[in-house]
Amino acid sequence: MIAQITALWQRFTTNNSEQAGEPVVATSDSTPPAAVLPPVDIAPNDPLLAYLLHVNGPVEVERLKLDSPALESLKAAGTRLLVPLVSQGELIGVLNLGSRRSDQEYSSDDRKLLADLATQAAPAVRVAQLVRQQKLEAAERERVAQELKVARLIQQTLLPQSLPEIDGWQVAAYYQPARAVGGDFYDFRTLPDGRLAIIIGDVTDKGVPAALVMATTRTLLRAASERLVSPGAVLERVNDLLHPDIPARMFVTCLYAVLDPATGHLVYANAGHDLPYTTGPSGVIELEARGMPLGLMPGMHYEEKEVTLAPGDTVLFYSDGLVEAHDPEREMYGFPKLREELAGFEGDDLVTYLLDTLHAFTGPGWEQEDDVTLVTVRYDGPSSVQREDPVQKGEVALLANFEVPSAPGNERRAMNQIAEAVASLDLPPDCLEKLKTAVAEATMNAMEHGNQYREDLPVHIRAEVEGTRLRVSITDHGGGAQIPEATTPDIDLKLAGLESPRGWGLFLIKSMVDEMNVHTDDEHHTVELVVNLDKT
């Protein structure tokens, strides 16, 4: 028999999709092949399919009397014979045959041969379909696994590698992602003035998109905290920068707090995140502040709130994963339970304590539903070093904390603000004048050498009294290279023209105060001026 197979129509029954196979032309001898007919699609609800599933053997198209769009298409295409391929009770394909080359009708021997062919071919076609489907599914699983891997890598790179270490304080953090990588993040940032920024947030999504938004948000927060002191201002800036670029329906909840370790003063602002709590000798206090999540709407305002921590207090920052965990009866952990557990807390490890309550609540075999993030900051009290030094006993009082833009003449402003701030100390006039000169010179150096007189880089100035020591810190953005040692300038060389008449600043600073200490990191210089008050 010489026949032309015009198309092998296949059906993927598991996903109900249609797949037109490649036209297959079988020819023999040197007879030129007839034109290849286009494959014919058969709709899932076409009555021809039901008919072919139940008929036994090849079917002559001309004899069929079905109201079938597919049948009409097959006739129009010149199909003469249909041979169903059935495997395990499923129609998995159809052989469409056109006219015989001899132009005779198909014989009964032809039909028998075709029926046998169909019986043999159907299982093979089925196996091929299953193999292809399995490959597609494997590729999808591989893609998902790869995305998970990338997302987890992004997240691991961006979460803090270490915790801040501050005298008198304990900082702890716990992060456990759910099965899919979520959007929780937290960060710590030591600010130029020595205060600590604490950030916790959550991106609404999973996988790589959430990880990338988290990375962007974290970078924007760090950049904003370089220039802006106030938590509300930081969130406003980040919100406006994030809004134009964040994918639709995604947003970031974020709580941004700034802790002054010297005083326990905590100021914070909230962009739709879970409210932190403090727990300690004064009981459990919810730290409320309201604001829209980041990236949702431009031009938002974020209110700022303040609290002062006392020795024995612990602040808890956390994400939904804790309060939205469920027990085997589908009850939620919830905020009331969290407050109860906080009220019952004693000791100094709140993270372990809360995780114990969580696991007791969810029971063994819990399938974690969301990321769990906990960050705690505990105030042990003034540092032990300070307690051991009688001269330095007593409270730390913050007298001033401000910035000046790096512009010529602004050292006057800094000098005057410090003079006002220390007025309550009743310094002797000569001592006050010396302090003013030292502050002016240190500020000039910071503006000129540290910040290159860039107005967008402020000098941060902070004054505090600790026991009998007045300490004024002046910080710029000129990290890296060390500040040169203060040496005594040689006026003879300068007068002889062998040296520049300049170069008096560091010498003056050192001469005007009792101690000058310099701290340098990658991004900042800080000059710390110390005046001993007990000798005044």
Partner: protein, 116 residues
């Protein structure tokens, strides 16, 4: 006290000239200070008296400018005398050793008296 614009005015006094300084001596004072001193030198004055009575603030750049004047004066063997410095800035002139090279007097009369 805010920033006060620097001023320098010459007052002839016999063979000497008094330069009455006022305001803040910082980088902004450079041109006016050098111009005033150049005028005094052109007049052949000796000594030149610097009156700091109305100066409220001198920063390290101001110190450098004064060192520059002193260098010029010494090159021409001309006396430079100061008066009217506050206690604080007298201390600064001492620790920088400017006082080793410039007479320091409390007021105009005693500065002129030294001359005589």
């Amino acid at each position: 006290m805010e920033h006060k614009t620097f001023g320098a005015n010459l007052r002839p006094m016999g063979d000497s000239v008094i330069i009455d300084l006022s305001g803040d001596i910082d980088a902004a004072a450079e041109e006016a200070l050098n111009a005033a001193y150049a005028q005094a030198e052109a007049a052949g004055a000796d000594p030149v008296l610097l009156n700091f009575s109305d100066v409220g603030y001198i920063n390290s750049t101001g110190i450098a400018l004064i060192v520059g004047l002193l260098a010029q004066a010494r090159k021409r063997h001309r006396q430079l005398v100061t008066y009217g410095l506050s206690d604080h800035y007298q201390e600064i002139f001492r620790i920088t050793r400017l006082s080793d090279f410039m007479g320091m007097y409390a007021d105009e009369a005693s500065a002129l008296q030294r001359d005589r």
